[in-house]
Symmetry: D2
Subunit: 350 residues, 4 copies
């Protein structure tokens, strides 16, 4: 049977999309022009959240595999899709400019009709946070959060929270990195510092160099260094294990090698995503302040205080970001042995 | 009867909005990941086109009045909403970045399933162009345009084309400007040049100064000057009458006066809108070229050639833009007489 | 004597501009590629700070006049130049993207050569903050600030701090607004609420309506309302007097009237500038964190902690922003009397 | 000898940078406020052009080597720096927003003082175009170009034109790709189509599949296909040889393989750079039109006509962009043999 011709309007279901704007102010007999903008911009945001969730799910499906085949495009696909999420978030931030064309007085014209609805009820955004790695216990204003949402949405968020998040999957993936497990990689490695600490000789060297590079007033960092990278006991509050931290640091340090380029881009994209989410929250706070000042939100929250609270607490990949403190100058890096160098690159081919 | 509580999901009709994505590639049994993005970004564009149309209609409703009351916020509302359209278009341009995260190979994975649908079938965009002022006869690829659209959409566009467009309304509004009609404004005006030409003394002066300011090789401009500003016979191909051009030029020249500030912002916003639409088309051409090279579009058009054709021809407010050629230095401007100065400002009040 | 021909290179003094990049890493014999970017981006920032200062000075010169002539383009010029500062700041924020193409490891290659230089030593930025209205006592990390700068730059900043800032000038300008002083404006005003409080009848009405509109949990705001708008005694910690607050609120409420449009745009631009400055600081914190983690800055500061401190404290126009809490719905606004309406508009002219 | 402390002001040579703004209008006794902006924005552009040239030179130095070591970060460095050029160009485009805050009337206040200087005289921009690959013969308005520039700048541009451009180096690098030279890669390749054409069996297959995928009206493309990819005779007007085109197409088709990821990113960045340069020219045309209408430029050129001419002709990497026409669906790609797959990936390492 021949396939029916596709038409733009049907394909995009424009009857649904363009027929989904009903202004409360109109129902109440006092049409407020700017309510249309208010509806449409939130719908546009929800469309983008759907797309972001679609990307996160596809990324998680790849990362969840016991082993990502390095000889396949899979890791590149992950990097590419994280990059797309970044780009979407940049547009989402820019989109706030449109909402800012609605002044405080314009908003007041219909604000009361919306009670007790609230952007807080965007369950897609909360699921996004959960799937990336935000835990319930880390959420700002937890009780409030339960009280505002419908049971069906709470369930969806709880389900997302109960599954391995992208952060968990990244931790697992980092832990699987084989660099320090395989003796053959390190056969000819020449330690500079005696490996007195019980660490792998490479890390003994690295600790030594790192310690030397600290300037006055930073000496105490060395203690965190030991905990962060070498305390292999379980710490429930940590999201990355010591072993995963070592792998991530190694990737950052030697990112020039072909095998480490995609892993480096992956880690970098996670930080970008956090930065864009955070910029979005920050601009959101500023906008809300200009719109309603220090009043309550339509949902009854303390408005900007809630948003400000989330701003600091909802940084998801902070443990990856923190590793930047422990980088050292390229010229001081321990020189890898030839076996490992080869493994990290392609065979000479040109 | 007490009003029902409003809930975010119901208010935004998220069941419709988030349930309107069906991938053709999935129906065909070969799901292509990037088709979701393709659907969602087009839906986001259509939402924004709906908003732009909503703003244009509200602006036209104000401009259509026989007289805009200067002692009301109406003109400011027009300016504000034109500014909002600008801001939306800037985000629309930025949004192309998201589509560009889809590479040519990703697009090929589902492109064939979409035939013969085409972005060309976005009737909202065509209505937007028509309501701003693009006439059917000025459209690039007219026949093609008829062949692609459904009758119901053609009817909508034809209806839009048959009504007074924003450009028409701006022309009417400019023609109503009273500055040169009211003798009392010009009671004490002292012409510098003898008003030999039959023009109002002010324009005699202005022509004289303008002619003096031309450098070598621009002398021929003076002919256009005469036609543009003083040929008051009807010219069907012109969108602005000579009288309207004089009013627009006067606004541009003396925009510092309180009464002319909002009119100046209005004219300026029209040029901004054209510039953003044009940037959007330009980035669109570039993107399509990178995506499909020099192949046919899914709708069968010559793809980028169509878009390039539209690029040059669909400049709607070009006659306003062209007036910039005829400005002169502020220090050489004819000095207005005191009566007029007062009318253009507020009474002294401080 | 005929003027010498101007040439692009000479006009822009490109020999100076393009000859001012000396890399410390090169002087030290270890050229680090990314140091060039580091130098050039900071030079580009300083050029833009010079431009911003040039605009602020020109704005202050207008605002410093005992009376701004409303029948002149002066206020529009102020608004236009504030808008330019906004646009420059938006590009300044975007410019951080360029610096973010320098990764932490790239920065480490030359970071140590720069000690103890620090972006903290940008005296132009500090003068900008001072001229806008940041007081020494409000600065985060005051002692540090003295210790880092050269005496000549401290002097420049102190001079800026000792002069009337833009915020001071805005306060003075708001105080001069004549709306409630002139009995004739209010001749036919019909109060709705008995003016028992000793306030002007208009403000009695406004307090009444505002109080009615408060929802549960916001009742306490009324106390701030009284203090903010009616405590006319001097409060050194306040930047806007009660009288200036009344004028600003009045402008925000009735901004649709022609006479209030430019004043409203002026107030709005100040908030935009604060928001852009604040976004700039926020992105700056994020970038520094990604670059150096939790290490000390090259100048010895606690790096991101300093920046985070400034983030909250350096909001200059916060008292204007706070007024948004006190707006009420347009449909509930007290109706002005006819005399005042006329004063706020143009005479009927159409 | 201990190194002298570095100070921000000295390091950035702020005395030079901030002391290089002299307004011609001031020298002429008629200071025009906006001339300062005009100077500073052009200086900022020239700083960025210097940075772009610095990046291009460093990229060319790597690409000029007889062989880029795949087991080194070199190719990644090239990709990273091309990405930086993209980012700088995006800011350069955004920066036009700042110039657009100068209205036509503001520009007229000092425009005449600048004659005959012209942005056309930015030799750094012309060198950038030349180093990327624009040939003298491809330039729009060649004679004009000679007449405007100083001999020293013409010499600099001529030198740049006489050296291998980035486009030339990319062609050479693509030509060196070894995929089809080494018999061992293809040992077990099973052709689907009889290799009747004398081409390598892989390309025979590819031609077959590509031809099948053409829809009605695209059949004639097959002729270009043959010429583009298989006419190995020299064509001076072509910038990429047939052999280089084959390598580029192969990279685009199989970009998922680890070894091809960086090469794909490199090609993609070149297209991005062209797109940004072209957007920059396009916005520049729009801005000039709004500023001076259809008048002559200060340098005497036909202003916007020159810019529009350059717009179409100065697309540098168009031959790479054109390859998008020849991609096929991923699911129809010829399956590579195992030997080649292994060479394009890492050894299995999990």
């Amino acid at each position: 049977m021949p396939k029916k011709d596709v038409h733009y309007s049907d394909y995009l279901q424009l009857d649904k999309i363009l027929g989904a704007q009903v202004m409360e102010s109109e129902l109440e007999g006092a049409p407020a022009h700017d309510e249309m903008l208010f509806i449409i911009i939130h719908q546009a945001y929800e469309l983008w959240f759907k797309q972001i969730l679609f990307e996160i799910d596809s990324i998680a499906a790849i990362m969840r595999q016991p082993a990502i085949n390095d000889n396949s495009p899979e890791l590149q696909t992950v990097v590419h899709r994280l990059g797309r999420i970044e780009t979407i978030l940049k547009v989402a931030v820019h989109q706030i400019d449109i909402l800012e064309t609605m002044t405080a007085m314009d908003f007041l014209d219909f604000r009361d009709y919306l009670r007790p609805a609230s952007g807080f009820q965007s369950w897609q955004f909360k699921i996004t946070e959960a799937k990336l790695g935000l835990r319930y216990t880390e959420r700002h204003g937890q009780e409030y959060y339960i009280s505002q949402l419908r049971q069906e949405h709470i369930d969806l968020i709880k389900t997302a929270e109960s599954q391995a998040s992208l952060l968990d999957l990244v931790n697992d993936w980092l832990q699987r990195m084989p660099f320090f497990d395989k003796p053959e990689y390190w056969a000819s490695y020449q330690p500079m510092f005696p490996a007195a600490t019980g660490k792998h000789p490479f890390w003994s060297d690295y600790s030594g160099i790192y310690t030397e590079s600290l300037v006055e007033g930073e000496r105490q960092n060395i203690r965190y260094f030991e905990t962060l990278f070498f305390d292999d006991t379980a710490h429930p509050e940590r999201r990355l294990s010591a072993r995963a931290c070592r792998a991530a640091l190694f990737i950052m340090l030697y990112r020039g090698f072909p095998l480490l380029q995609a892993p480096f881009q992956l880690l970098n994209s996670l930080l970008e995503i956090d930065e864009q989410l955070s910029t979005w929250r920050y601009r959101h706070v500023s906008m809300v302040t200009r719109m309603i000042g220090y009043r309550s939100g339509t949902g009854g929250s303390s408005g900007r205080d809630y948003l400000k609270g989330a701003l600091d607490k909802h940084y998801i990949f902070r443990e990856i970001a923190a590793l930047a403190s422990y980088l050292i100058e390229r010229r001081r890096l321990p020189v890898l042995c030839r076996e490992l160098e080869e493994r990290l690159g392609f065979e000479a081919r040109s």
